[in-house]
């Protein structure tokens, strides 16, 4: 029975192929970030790889550039407003879509995904024109609203998925034990939804901070968000400062993921 112990040749080729694809995928995911970080420390004043020296100059320069600092604050504000909007609108919508007993519930749960299906640029232009008709000019507010509209579906889907897996009997048990609907929500549904809500908040914040397709048409003229600022930076002077800004953003994402994974466990993002 030596065949049982040693895999057949075709199986071994298959396993090798799976490993190869796995490593290639990982490399494609991680390598660009690593290259960007490496370039951000280069001593040369143009973007090139591999770096030939090491300096913090580009970071110093970055924090000495008021437009970039301002853009970071704008993106931070947009990220927080988008997260707030998505929490306020997404969580109740998800609950209505799953637990609701009304006509058109199915239609609603498909309809709320629609803005996410439209290309971001189309949505951005649409909201720009729609805003113009009611005199809502491009601003942090309009940009936040537009990005929230774009990313709301993600929050709704994550919370819906969790809610669909939540046994209705838990809510019935709570009611049976004397809880009002509000108490049931507060003590049973909400705590069990929290991992999904946190995950949704992380995704929507990152999108709010990072989105460019919708933001480019809707941001305020004085309030340019970081991605927009970064794009003009790349177009105008292509120094490693661009890489430094990107590296700072990567650091932010890593911090958010780190916080989420250490408080909730990363695996719960899939719940």
């Amino acid at each position: 029975m030596s065949g049982a112990k040693r895999l057949a040749l075709t199986d071994r080729i298959g396993v090798a192929a799976i490993y190869a694809i796995g490593f290639l995928s990982l490399a494609l995911l991680v390598a660009p970030s690593l290259i960007v970080v490496a370039i951000s420390f280069d001593t040369r004043s143009y973007v090139s790889f591999p770096p030939v020296g090491f300096t913090f100059d580009w970071y110093v320069k970055l924090f000495a550039t008021p437009e970039l600092i301002r853009a970071m604050w704008v993106s931070l504000k947009v990220g927080l407003i988008v997260t707030g909007l998505c929490l306020a609108l997404g969580v109740p919508t998800a609950i209505a879509c799953v637990r609701g007993r009304f006509k058109g519930r199915q239609a609603l749960s498909v309809f709320v995904l629609f803005p996410h299906m439209v290309p971001g640029i189309v949505l951005g232009i649409a909201i720009l024109f729609a805003g113009a008709t009611i005199d809502a000019r491009p601003s942090i507010g309009l940009q936040s609203l537009a990005v929230a509209c774009f990313i709301l579906a993600v929050m709704i889907r994550i919370v819906m998925a969790r809610l669909m897996r939540l046994d209705v009997a838990l809510e019935e048990a709570s009611a049976n034990l004397g809880a009002t609907r509000l108490q049931t929500f507060r003590h049973v549904v909400l705590p069990l939804l929290l991992p999904a809500i946190w995950a949704g908040a992380a995704f929507t914040f990152i999108e709010g901070f990072d989105n460019i397709s919708v933001a480019i048409f809707t941001h305020g003229h004085r309030d340019r968000p970081l991605p927009v600022e970064l794009m003009s930076l790349v177009q105008n002077d292509n120094t490693p400062m661009v890489a430094a800004v990107s590296a700072a953003q990567i650091a932010l994402s890593v911090v958010i993921l780190g916080v989420v994974s250490s408080t909730l466990g990363l695996e719960k993002l899939n719940d």
Binding site: A169, E172, A175, N176, L177, G178, T180, H187, P191, L192
Partner: protein, 356 residues
Amino acid sequence: MDGAYVGLAPFVAIDGLTKRFGDHVALADCALAIGRGEIVTLLGPSGCGKTTLLRCIAGFTEPDAGSIAIDDADTLALPVNRRPVGVVFQNYALFPHMTVAANIGYGLKMRGVPKGEIDRRVADILALVSLSELKDRYPIALSGGQQQRVAVARALVVEPKLLLLDEAFNALDAKLRAGMQAELRKLIKRLGMTAIFVTHDQDEALAISDRVAVMGSGRIAQVANPIDIYDRPVSPYVAQFVGTSNMLAARAAGGVATLPGGVKLPTSYSGDVQVLVRPQNFEILDASDARAGWQGRVTFGRPAGAIVEYEIDAADGTSFKIAALRDSPAGHLSAGTPVGLAVRDASACVVFEASA
């Protein structure tokens, strides 16, 4: 009527309860009266309406018509969180994010009971179900039997007037089940609690209840104590759902139905009838025995503890299910053995109309 509630005004009175889901009639004019401190089981196959009836009492489902009164109070008028009923759910529905103690104290907390009193009452009930040492565990760290006890304690601690248990033993393995059934029955009796169990498991129904209500197609087919349900079923449906049964075709005339072998059964029916004979009410004889009403061959023998369950096919194609004590002469028949069959006790047979 045999097995009907006898006594003062019933503690739980269900009348005319009807529920439709679209075209499907889940409950059709159900009536049931239960005395204080009584344990009643709703027994039936899935889809018979037993769970719908339970959910109507608990308030999870709104009936289309009918009334439910508990201790003379109209229960249907109360919202779900004000009904004086405690439910033990099929898979217990313990809150996964709360400890055992928090699960059990939940109902008291929702009622605004002071913290000190919650702790005291939770400790008392934990002692009652022997779970004191597990109070800080989370449900996921408990065995099925322990989870069931937490679910029972959680339902009991708020002192409901009526306890409802939905397939409470389903999630337990067979070995554990019998022990937990006896334990739960003793606990409910000790507390003087009135309880309704829902189950599709006839052994559970017979083991745990004072009375069994057999349900079918949204109706209550018979309510009686477990022995009468088995011995005196009112219809072939009840007879076939509870216990193993042989339904034999026979003719009735002049107030008497006659089975092969000369067994005479008094009956008010005439014409074609069906006769219920339980497996242990047959005597297995030699094939040549003159007392035999049927001749047949053993097709299958299955030892089941102290008895052997045989399948015996008669010459006319009828298949009999027959039980014999294993240490009797008929306890060791191999497949193919020719045998004769006779009914032992005519009074233990039940006659039904053939069309019933």
